[in-house]
């Protein structure tokens, strides 16, 4: 009771990264609150995935495993989620901000009249005093998210209603398994006793799902490598920084033509145009053909040892230094400060 429940989304028979990231975050929140982390797993033939959820700290896996649940459909999934939430009364419920989470979570929150904050970039526990009534609340979930096209950051709280619900995008939070999995257990949900005929009003006629493709267009953060990175091997620096920050890797045409990375990552006039909230240009000179595809990014950080490189003209932050030293320092600094 009053624990934290993370919706464990699956994709092609695997737990989605975003759900594992949420479990990692939920462990920190649960420790602060002195409660447990649990997971809700819905699908067909998914029981075997429970072990991975234990590895990320879920002490209970609420499992709805039935052939009729093979693919996500709003109504049956919402009915099961509602049953679990009404029985377990979690104080916090977290969903990935995926096409599934952003379809399911609002439906559920509406039925529970509980409120929901979309696409949070940070979750914290803290106290709150209502400005009007003066009533004080302790240990609420601070749901922190950008709004207004990313120009403001709002902290949302949910003082009176439970569960406090939030969605978070993939890659925003860190994913870290426990050194030792918890000894979890399964709480099997009797699917047949919950679902009714009208829950199957939507029928799936066809599904065509592709392998995960490189998609730098949709990325919030991009690490953009140029010819100055020097070699295909050295591009691992760019990938390391991207992985640390939950970013995608982009590249200039010169870097792609030199064979450092694949074509799909090319930014610029002959590649894709990107507009992330943050782009870190590593060893990019800043030719107009390249900057035309990224100069509308909200924050531009340039790392280049040549102070005269044109990239510095459009950068919000110019780091004049050797990328081979600066990039590892950034990774180390982030890891140190994000603890």
């Amino acid at each position: 009771m009053n624990n934290i429940i993370v919706y464990a989304e699956t994709d092609s028979g695997k737990i989605c990264d975003v759900s594992l990231e949420l479990l990692t975050k939920a462990r920190g929140l649960a420790e602060r609150l002195g409660v447990d982390v649990e997971a809700l797993l819905i699908g067909s033939n998914v029981e075997k995935l429970a072990g991975e959820l234990y590895a990320y700290g879920a002490k209970v896996v609420h499992l709805a495993d039935d052939p009729c649940l093979e693919f996500f459909r709003t109504l049956p999934y919402a009915a099961i989620t509602l049953r679990v939430f009404n029985t377990e009364k979690p104080q916090i419920a977290l969903f990935g901000a995926t096409t599934v989470g952003r379809d399911l979570a609002p439906r559920v929150s509406s039925a529970l009249k509980s409120g929901l904050t979309a696409d949070c970039t940070s979750l914290e526990i803290g106290d709150h005093k209502d400005a009007k009534t003066g009533k004080e609340y302790s240990d609420l979930l601070y749901q922190i998210r950008p709004a207004f096209g990313g120009n403001i950051i709002a902290t949302i709280v949910n003082p009176e209603h439970r569960p406090q619900m939030a969605t978070v995008r993939e890659g925003v939070m860190k994913k870290e398994p426990l050194a030792q999995p918890v000894k979890g257990r399964i709480n099997r949900i009797d699917v047949a006793s919950i679902l009714v005929d009208s829950d199957f009003a939507v029928e799936i006629i066809k599904r065509e799902i592709e392998e995960r493709k490189i998609d730098i267009k949709g990325a919030q953060i991009i690490v953009d490598g140029g010819y100055g990175v020097g070699s295909k091997e050295n591009f691992s620096l760019v990938f390391d920084l991207a992985k640390t920050l939950g970013a995608e890797v982009g590249a200039s045409r010169a870097a792609v033509d030199a064979g450092f990375v694949e074509n799909a990552r090319q930014i610029g006039q002959t590649g894709v145009t990107v507009r992330p909230k943050l782009i870190i240009c590593v060893g990019v000179s800043g030719a107009i053909q390249h900057t035309a595809g990224m100069d509308q990014s909200k924050i531009i950080i340039a790392i280049n040892n040549d102070p005269q490189a044109p990239i510095h003209k459009i950068a919000d932050y110019s780091i004049i230094g050797d990328l081979n030293e600066v990039v590892p320092k950034m990774i180390a600094s982030y890891k140190k400060q994000s603890k």
């Binding site: 609002p106 929901l116 919000d316």
Partner: protein, 293 residues
């Protein structure tokens, strides 16, 4: 005779947050809201096109826009009329103010119930909040199925609608019973332009409150008694009924605790060395502004 459908399009007037360039910021580095024009939410425009296509295919069908907002949001309904809708309703009342997505969806669901449509379409999300919640919440309140992330309504008959959905890595084709609510994704077909004839016909369509506004004095030569189609309806809480405590601020479980403007310290390029101290302060600043998680 083929079926005539009633389609309600949920649309919102939003500030154009997409064009918050570096010039739309104040010298203090905060958003200059006054500099942002109010526009028809882009994905609601995609939804409108899907609704108009049903009307093209089934003449006699009615497309109505439902919007909620201040008096000036009537502009959204006029935009619809210029493109071929049959009318609309503006939900406007101080008692709706301060609503989060739940209270908003309650108000909208109450109005939709009164309009009794076969199908409801809306944009996937609005660009001022990007929550994508109001569509599914309205569907839940009405107790009807929802189909989100639609790219195209490919078929519709009296009993069911077929929808192509655009997912992260592919597509899905689903059918749903009617009535149902569909949210439309930006990859759907763009909306048709304004029709010159409709523009002439509806240029002076207005709400009662717009008529009362002294700023519009002398603007409306033709009375709505003479041409009733020029009247845009406004509904208040009293018109849609329901539980008054479920509206507005009181009906909103989520509260905004704090709002921080993102302040860009480096309006001019800030030059850093590769020293540990410089890197630490840069990473720290990005984390403090939630640019990195």
């Amino acid at each position: 005779m083929s079926k005539e459908f009633t389609i309600v399009v949920l649309a919102k007037q939003v500030p154009d947050t997409r064009n918050v360039g570096k010039d739309a910021m104040t010298p203090e580095g905060t958003v200059n809201r006054a500099a942002l024009p109010a526009i028809f939410n882009p994905e609601d425009m995609n939804a409108l096109e899907q609704a108009l296509r049903i009307k093209d295919k089934f003449p006699g069908s009615k497309v109505l826009i439902l919007t909620m907002g201040p008096f000036r949001a009537a502009e959204v309904i006029r935009e619809g009329l210029f493109r071929g809708t049959d009318g609309g309703v503006l939900l406007t009342d101080r008692r709706f103010a301060g609503a989060d997505t739940l209270a908003t969806s309650y108000a909208i669901s109450q109005a939709v119930r009164k309009m009794n449509p076969d199908i409801i379409v809306a944009g996937r999300q609005a660009i001022d909040g990007d929550t994508a919640q109001v569509g599914p919440q309205v569907a839940e309140k009405l107790g009807i199925p929802q189909v989100t992330y639609a790219e195209e309504i490919t078929d519709i008959d009296e009993k069911k609608v077929t929808v192509l959905r655009r997912l992260e890595r592919g597509i899905e084709v689903v059918t749903s019973t009617l009535p149902c609510l569909i949210t439309v994704h930006a990859t759907a077909a763009p909306c048709r332009p304004r029709n010159a004839k409709m523009l002439l016909k509806y240029k002076y369509a207005r709400t009662a409150n717009e008529e009362k506004d002294p700023a519009n004095e002398g603007k409306y030569a033709i009375g709505v008694d003479e041409k009733p189609y020029l009247r845009i309806q406004e509904w208040t809480v009293d018109d849609v009924g329901g539980d008054e405590n479920s509206y507005g601020f009181a009906g909103s479980p989520t509260k905004v605790k704090k709002v921080e403007n993102i302040v860009f310290k480096a309006k001019e390029s800030k030059v850093l060395s590769g020293s540990d101290a410089d890197i630490d302060s840069l990473i720290g600043e990005l984390m403090a502004n939630h640019e990195i998680g």
